[in-house]
Structures are given as C-alpha cells and as structure tokens.
Amino acid sequence: MASFPPRVNEKEIVRSRTIGELLAPAAPFDKKCGRENWTVAFAPDGSYFAWSQGHRTVKLVPWSQCLQNFLLHGTKNVTNSSSLRLPRQNSDGGQKNKPREHIIDCGDIVWSLAFGSSVPEKQSRCVNIEWHRFRFGQDQLLLATGLNNGRIKIWDVYTGKLLLNLVDHTEVVRDLTFAPDGSLILVSASRDKTLRVWDLKDDGNMMKVLRGHQNWVYSCAFSPDSSMLCSVGASKAVFLWNMDKYTMIRKLEGHHHDVVACDFSPDGALLATASYDTRVYIWDPHNGDILMEFGHLFPPPTPIFAGGANDRWVRSVSFSHDGLHVASLADDKMVRFWRIDEDYPVQVAPLSNGLCCAFSTDGSVLAAGTHDGSVYFWATPRQVPSLQHLCRMSVRRVMPTQEVQELPIPSKLLEFLSYRI
C-alpha cells in the first residue's frame, strides 16, 4: 500500500524544514490518559499560540517569543523556561503590557481550543457593539476551551482569567470556532449531535441550536465572510449552514467514512474536508461540486475498505493563508503539504501520532499536535503567488460561484475563477 501515486518518485519529494518543537512536560505517573493534544490554535493577530499540554492544562505562549527561542536554542524549547527577553508587541494605548505566558488549568480534559477576537479580520458585516457586564475592552482576545464534560470555558488571553462558563452540551465539545468578523459569535460542535451558537457579547447567551447530524459532530469552520458554517461529523456527514438564518444550505455527499476536519480557503471559494476514508476532498461550497481529491493511500481503497479501519485515517486538514497550499495529517506518520493544482504533495515531513494541524496567522509555520501532548513546527513552502491567483482570490472574496459564472469574460478565465483547472 503506497502513500503516493505510482508516477511520483517518493525520494524526489522535498522534506520540510523543522523549525522547532514544544515537548510536553513529564506526566505524573498515575495518569494514563488525558495527555493527548487534540487541537492547536494561533491567535488571529498572531500574538499567541495555545498549546493543550494534556492533563487538563493549556499553555498560552507568546508566539514571537516562541519563535525567537527556537532560533536561539536550536530546536528544543524547554517548557518551563522563564524567558526574560520578551519582545514588544505593538500595543495600542497601553491596555496590555508585554505578552506573557499563561498556564491555565481547565479542570477537565481539553478537546478543543479557539481564539476569538473582537477586532474583525475583515470588515464584512456590520457589528453592533454593545458592552455588557464583562465590559469587553477595545480589542478583546479570548480563548475558548471545550472540555470532556460538555462545558466551554472562556478565558481572557492577556490576563489568563476565567470569564465565562458555558454549560449546555451533554457530551464532549469536540470543536469550537469563532466568527472571523469580530462579533464574538462562538459555534461549538459536540458529540451530542448538535452545534450550538453562543453570543459572547451578550454574556454568553446561547442563540441557536443547529440540529441535523445523526451522529457525532467532529469539526466546524466558518467561511471568511462569516456567512456560512461548515460542520462535519460521523457517518460521512458534511453540512453547510447559512449563518444569517441558521438554516441548512446543503449536504455535501462524497466521503465514505467519518469526516473529521474541515477548513475554508481564505477567499471562501474552497472547502477542504478530511475523512477516515483516506482522502481529503476540496469542494466548491457554493454548488457542492468536488473539485479536487488528495489521496493518501494508493491504489485508492474500494468503498468497503475505505469505510472501515484502513490504517490511513486522515486526521486533520488546514488551508494556508495564501490560498494555494493545504496541509494534511494522516496516520501513516507523515504531514503532507499540497498545492491546490497538483494531486501529489509538494513537501512532506515525518510525524508520529499526529492529531491536529494548523497554519500560523501569517502562514509561514505549520504546527501539529500529537498524541503525547507535544507540538512540532515546520516551515511551510512559501512562494510568491502569481498575480492571476491574487486577482482570483480578490474576486472570489466577494463573489460566489453563481455570480462568477455571469461575468462577461472568456470561458477559460471563468473556469480559472471557479477553481476548475
């Protein structure tokens, strides 16, 4: 069973450059489980990195300090180092001091993490800002942690204090995501087959329950303009929801096994989903077509084999911020970097027991968390994107596929704009 298509020479694929690693601290000998690192997350402004260290603790690491440590000390980063040289961030108005490390004890096994910022990444929707009891400051940075018992705890990143405790799910909260428009709307996906929408500006009021999954919900992701939410789960489920009316737009059919991860491209024109059927599919979320397929097992498994235990489950997928690269993590001990116009990976890196991956905010580093609580970092393949691609992203940020088809341009360019190349 090969990991790459037969026409690709495995030795010619470039190995990625390792940047560093954060190794989990030695565990107390009486605790066997709870060590796993199920999610890694970067803050939207690139200032912090959240590391679920296992055993109920999350460590918040100032990212530029972490990068500096990697460069100075080679590849190892001592977990309990007390670094005194903290670089200055661009603080606005002195509301926060230099970013500091925090270790947060969450009280239960952490399954999901998400950063939320009240600063919108793009001015896409009108945000009606009302200040309530917690008096969120001018640029609030929050960390939401989803726990084993169904609770969600919201922490302030700058001070490390607990702000809110959201109780409604009855099972593990498997994934959390904030809306990227700064409205501090949080969506949680849980094994109790529902997704819940919370408004953190309104004291954590639960606004809506999204029902439709027949089985565990594994992951959810917002589109960059916050209009759509994708949720994926067991029994091959991939659903798209309209986040203005909270109705289901469509189901995407195509996977043969549980779908465990999803991510939108930065222009919202592509959706990547990873499944235990050894494949990553790239969909057009506006009409449900499959545009590309990234396989991890060759020859491709038959549906019966794909629907069972095939030793090649894909655990995580992440889109890079240049919209051209996708990273995927599978059980064959490899992290693969793909370009969206090739069906074999352009770079690989070795990783055992990987569970999750995420690109950093500027897209230069990929972080992957493993079963024993450690995190490993690699340099992503970077290149200057072609001007055609930059124009395409610029157009697709504001136009769905249906509107693109109406443009008065040659058909070859229409296909390029619809990512059908």
Binding site: D362, S364, S386, L387, C391, L417
Partner: protein, 96 residues
C-alpha cells in the same frame, strides 16, 4: 537594464528588464528580432491595457522580484476587487 511599457493612454512605466520578463508575453515581445545596445531602453506598447492595470502589473513584478528567494516575510499584495476582473484578463494575456 530597463524597459518602458506604454499603456493605451500613452502612460509610460519604466521597470527593470529582469522584473518585466516575469511575464512570459513581455519576455517574448522583448526577445524579438533586432539587437539593441545594452543601455538602450526598449519599449513595448500595449494599446489595450489601461494605465491603472499596467501600473498594477508593474507593481506586482517588482514585488515578486523582490520577495522571490528572499527569506524576509512576504507582505500581502493589495489587489482591490474593483479592478480585479479587468486585471485578471490582462494578467492572463501577459501570463504572470
């Protein structure tokens, strides 16, 4: 060393030759018949490309030439959605 690109309205932009040949079409146009002395500026005139699109293309080729093979952080290139469709057609023609 430098080439002069002329838009449909007569607007002239001068860029380094090594950046301009990022565009395969411009490279083909410049390597046509006729040898020029090294410090002469060759001209290419585009009668269908408007000035704002041409200046954006020149900004891009300079941006690309600067950040290719450089280890500094690559900044985002601003491409506003208002000019993007027209820019896309031109860029498809220029192939860059």
């Amino acid at each position: 060393m430098y080439v002069k690109l002329i838009s449909s309205t007569g607007h002239k932009v001068i860029v380094k030759r090594e950046y301009a040949v990022t565009s395969i079409t411009i490279k083909a146009m410049l390597s046509g018949p006729g040898q020029l002395a090294e410090n002469e500026i060759s001209e290419v005139s585009f009668r269908e490309i408007s000035s704002h699109v041409l200046s954006k293309v020149c900004m891009y080729v300079t941006y690309k030439g600067h950040y290719t093979n450089s280890s500094t952080e690559i900044l985002k290139f601003p491409a506003a959605p208002q000019i993007a469709p027209e820019l896309l057609m031109t860029v498809n023609f220029l192939d860059c």
